[in-house]
Symmetry: C2
Subunit: 537 residues, 2 copies
Amino acid sequence: MARNETAVATGGGPWHDKHAMSRATRRRERQERREKASQIPRLPWRNLTNPYPPIEILSADQLEAIHMASLRVLSEIGMKVLGADARERLAAAGAQVNNDDRMVRCDPDMVMELMALVPSSFTLEARNPARSITIGGNHINFAPVNGPSFVTDLDRGRRAGTYDEMCDFLKVLQSLDIIHIGGIGSFEPLDLPADTRHLDRNFAAATLHDKIWSANLLGGYRARDALEMQCIVHGIAYEDLPNHLVTMGNINTNSPRQLDGNMSAGLTELALAGQPVVVTPFTLLGAMAPTTLAGALTQQNAEALFGMILCQIIRPGTPVVYGGFTSNVDMKSGAPAFGTPEYVKATQAGAQLARRYNVPFRSSSTNASNVVDAQAAYESEMSIWAAVMGHANLVFHAGGWLEGGLTASFEKLIIDAEMLQMMAEYLAPVTVDEDTLALDAIAEVEPGGHFFGAAHTLARFETVFYEPMVSDWQNFESWQENGSLTATQRANTVWKQLVAEYEPPPLDPGIREALEEYVTRRKAEINAGPDLLDYDM
Amino acid sequence: MARNETAVATGGGPWHDKHAMSRATRRRERQERREKASQIPRLPWRNLTNPYPPIEILSADQLEAIHMASLRVLSEIGMKVLGADARERLAAAGAQVNNDDRMVRCDPDMVMELMALVPSSFTLEARNPARSITIGGNHINFAPVNGPSFVTDLDRGRRAGTYDEMCDFLKVLQSLDIIHIGGIGSFEPLDLPADTRHLDRNFAAATLHDKIWSANLLGGYRARDALEMQCIVHGIAYEDLPNHLVTMGNINTNSPRQLDGNMSAGLTELALAGQPVVVTPFTLLGAMAPTTLAGALTQQNAEALFGMILCQIIRPGTPVVYGGFTSNVDMKSGAPAFGTPEYVKATQAGAQLARRYNVPFRSSSTNASNVVDAQAAYESEMSIWAAVMGHANLVFHAGGWLEGGLTASFEKLIIDAEMLQMMAEYLAPVTVDEDTLALDAIAEVEPGGHFFGAAHTLARFETVFYEPMVSDWQNFESWQENGSLTATQRANTVWKQLVAEYEPPPLDPGIREALEEYVTRRKAEINAGPDLLDYDM
């Protein structure tokens, strides 16, 4: 029988028949192994690093041109800063501040002197020390989607998110070790009041998973609540926070060239406590930034530098992360596009700019599809490869993002985890030694024969290859007999099983009680109507 | 209004409203532009190159260890060669040949001396000179799926392929400039007799598209028919073929360590005519090769070197391509898996080995899904990124491959073309100059404003971003109103429109007539029953 690269796909041929003889044994062994744990195969926790050099899409000259242009934006054109407190701090540090039009300009020297204070890498302590993560260098960390108001799954469709469903989402996230950051629930629990739901989200994050979770920075009081609750979880005093990096927060500039009061307030609270701040300009090409990549990157870089130096002014040495969220819009509708070629380039150029300043970089895994289909997958893969090849250190929205970030999808979360696991396995090192070169096995198997029964194979076959959660490699006939399910339909089964099998990570009952007391007290205070927004807008 | 990275996805907010004012104008302009041509946006033809350095997953020591081990396979363990003609040629060139067990062993010096004859790069002439391609260096060329017996689309489902449908597939391929190689019809036309259908496929390839098409190498007479027909198309004599690279062919070794008679016969015909041969070992980890990547690569490398030096023995300097098709199997079922982490590593390591010998590299874009879903997309993206980041020069099966290569899918072809186009746009250079840095535009737009009306935007918005064929960036409500179509459903519309709009590329009527005469004559000869297999098996 002539074998070629397509004929084998039948799953037929002599090597297949011979292989079948040992299948019963292996099936039994696999079954036994599975009965000990969940039937959903998953990769164990790994602190991922990228062993390959980053792809650099800008030449050294191009990088420098964008750097210089962005310094001109900051010194000549300026940023509008809505918060009076932030303007005061900037003025005291030497910026030219006009309190009438609220414009702030910074000299290049001031910018670069402050950027020199930024640490190149830092480690965030999770409540489970085995879930702590390092951000910087060649480290890569994946975080789930955050921000949507909607949630969707195949059973119930698209709907407003609730707290119970948000907790289910957190349970799945805790079950997926490939997601390094647990987050605060991924979508808004719209059945809870807007002013206090951050407390419920923090509580869920602190109790349902044992990974890192970020502070909501929409206003100073939300940031402080997150920090207070982290102090309870970690058993430390608020004043002692700068000695313990336990959380982080993300701010978006109100691009172009504007920082609003809520964002600067949240940034200020985190920086005062010495906690890392991710500064992410929101520079969609053609909408909030020029249509050209060079122009959008110039603006992104100016805004990112501005947020990062504000952190250094507030507390020198505050860890910061350069966030890139530059993509294009659909010029037909004005809708944002994600995972596009422009997005990939912007991501990798952004990471290159971050390396210019020796600061960690944050990107995202995003897509603009309205359904978990081929588009959702290929736009996400473009985002993931952009991030990994460009050396992003933090990949936000990497689990469950759908519809340009408007909806969190349970099925997409599973498919994202599969894609991330595949990437993690790709990044694992190759071993080349006498054993793996397998010359004895090659000599043992006759020409045209097969390796199924070789000792070298039998010693390894159970664990040697990546075992997928969702991918189905059955032949067409078997796949049909099993219901002709798409990857998305199979993902539906997976997440429900993970929710059903979820077990909460251990937590000291005293900590749980203290968190409950904090949430109860703060809800009462907030509902009593104090001035929540304690910074000028 | 506070903007953040998720709120914008509503397509709402003040910038969107302001943008809407100019939408009518732009919609009209776009409409006018489209009425001139097809409504399916497509990238124009590009001879693609990769400007970035390749990802090297093997260290220099690891690479050398695999090289040395594979030389030991060739010198100590040997290859089984079924064709007597090939064994004779190998013996004459200094190999140790045993005609009883048909084993052939080659010394390392012989291997390396012959490999030194291989050109590092070559150019294939298409009948339309604008569709000629260069293979080697940083060049990347995409070819369609080849090999399946089945074809599928959403309207008619999965079925045995016919000649008419094969012609439709070729029409779509001709319409997609991102696919550099037109091929010979992608799937078997099972309504035609097996012994002569290669003639019909060649005729379709020569007339329906103006790109490169390969010779079927399953036996010497099929290879010669392809070469004769290429001579008619290019107006050259058979003896003059070595001075005109007009086609190529792929052979698979019958792994492990075997070369069958059909394959060596086809290889021989091509090499005698000086046409390029792609030598692709078929080394699925755990089935036809060891389970370890190092072992499978050692075997792949030995088999690839063997095929490539056989070409050099037949005609020194024959262009050859190192083919990598190493993936793993599902150890549960024995079914091949594609686009897996193991596949990505094998692809990039294979490309690295090819560079070791200064020879072009061929990989594939593959997946094992039975349906055009998220899995089909993410496995294909893994394959494409593996190929591009690893610097494959030829990416076979990059349009329409489904079900591990058993089926050609019309919808997958469109989605593949979208993914390839996105990659091509990603590889296009970034321009950084005063104009693209856009400092004037940045200064012009007020803080918190938008760029939709900026002169810089208006001068560029029509063409500045990649315009997709399939991706849908509408918001959820609009998408629902338009029928809630998945990417695969939208791809169904696209390919049918491309078939409907297809126009054949110009062809000299005399050439067409000569091709028809050749096909008619050869069918009669073959049906008269000559000895088709003119080489020992």
